[in-house]
Assembly symmetry: C2
Homo-oligomer: 254 residues x 2
């Protein structure tokens, strides 16, 4: 794909996201809609994993030929762009009352649940997210939470980036662990049992800390406990900054 081709693809995605693609009147009535394709694709990705999401698989679920999908969507990349933005439009609107901390906590819990509902979100391109209508709405809501905390624009963005990055990072290990368990049929217990001979060889000799932690049961994979722990720490860290801002400290001192 050349540079200009990718630029063209970007324009197409944007037009699709904002529904600016003009529909023709001539010709036979379409058997499908873009929304039906997107929702079917999301259902497949949710249930069978992102690895099972192929154009042929989606087409089969819709009882059409594989190439018919390309009448509605320029390619798989653009379809995924649509899936991402569509998923952001699911949940209920956020409660806009309460302090920034409880509201930001609610956002984190929402993202945590969202990633577990749609694990494929963690496996698609997210470096330069297409800002669709629903993604914009989510960002706007998150920003509104931090309005009035004394943070400037950059800091508000960075605060949201920090919490979102943490949730995404943790959700990725959590989601992949549970997917690995169900897909491979190797349970967590079997997994650790297989590694145990090698680990216990190493522990006690060169890795004393690992041995101590293993005895206290620290190695049971990322759980909700890890989420609750991190949530408090990250919000505590933000609270330190916000308290300093409200006490009137100069930005450079934060």
């Amino acid at each position: 794909m050349t540079s200009s081709e990718r630029a063209e693809s970007l324009k197409r995605s944007l037009a699709l996201l904002w529904g600016k693609a003009d529909e023709p009147t001539r010709g036979p009535k379409p058997a499908l809609t873009r929304e039906r394709i997107v929702e079917t694709a999301i259902a497949i990705a949710d249930q069978e994993g992102v690895g099972a999401l192929s154009m042929r698989r989606i087409a089969a679920a819709l009882n059409v030929g594989a190439m018919s999908l390309y009448r509605y969507v320029p390619g798989k990349d653009e379809l995924i762009d649509l899936m991402v933005d569509h998923s952001y439009g699911e949940g209920p609107a956020l409660d806009e009352t309460g302090g920034w901390r409880e509201r930001l906590e609610a956002v984190c819990r929402g993202e945590w649940a969202h990633y577990h509902r749609h694990p494929w979100l963690l496996h698609v391109q997210q470096g330069r997210p297409l800002m669709g209508p629903n993604a914009l709405l989510s960002t706007e809501a998150a920003l509104r939470i931090l309005d009035g905390t004394g943070l400037d624009g950059r800091e508000m963005i960075d605060a949201i980036v920090t919490t979102s990055s943490w949730v995404a990072g943790l959700a990725r290990t959590s989601v992949e662990a549970s997917r690995a368990a169900t897909e491979t049929g190797v349970s967590d217990d079997e997994w650790w049992a297989a590694q145990e001979p090698y680990l216990s060889d190493a522990m006690g000799e060169r890795y004393p800390m690992l041995g101590r932690v293993a005895e206290s049961g620290g190695f049971d994979g990322p759980t909700d406990r890890s989420f609750e722990f991190g949530l408090r720490r990250v919000l505590d860290g933000l609270e330190v900054l916000i308290a300093a801002r409200r006490a009137g400290e100069h930005p450079d001192a934060g």
Copy 2:
């Protein structure tokens, strides 16, 4: 792949990681070594992206046939396991002096640099990481940092999981953004310019906060500034907990 097949593959990976595979004496001398294959694969993944990492590509770089690699490695999954653990054995040993905060900060900076050196790490299975020798060593070193802070075993693990998750989450967006820029030839400016018409349509109407933040220049993608910001917040959050522990608070109150 059936359940028992995956269990077998797991055992093979472990044996490879710990070098317990006994070498035969009969037959012709091998033309390759497993280490050479792993290092070549890492070089390709670093330079050309994980998408370009195919068995045929690796074999071509080593001047052998694609199937020859399967004499040294059971499959691509196991090769990636080896690549991951190999990459953990690169950096210099950590400085073991100083307070927990500066040492943990150094770990975070190390991971940040590590992910930028090997972006493919963020795209491989990490839900149930195979604990190879080098991975164990890194974990041990991180745990040792938190020894004596008053945290118990579970909390030490959760603290490390929290910082690592945040670094990984942020690195993923950062790495993908820069890769997208070089691979597609669409610069950051062009990217935002393409979206601008749609965004400015929405701003001012329904998304006032976004408009304000955009004016203050908050939307320039994840940079080192985002990293420095998050680093302070996450460590501040941990410091709140550790200070409470040292003041003798009961764990349930944290």
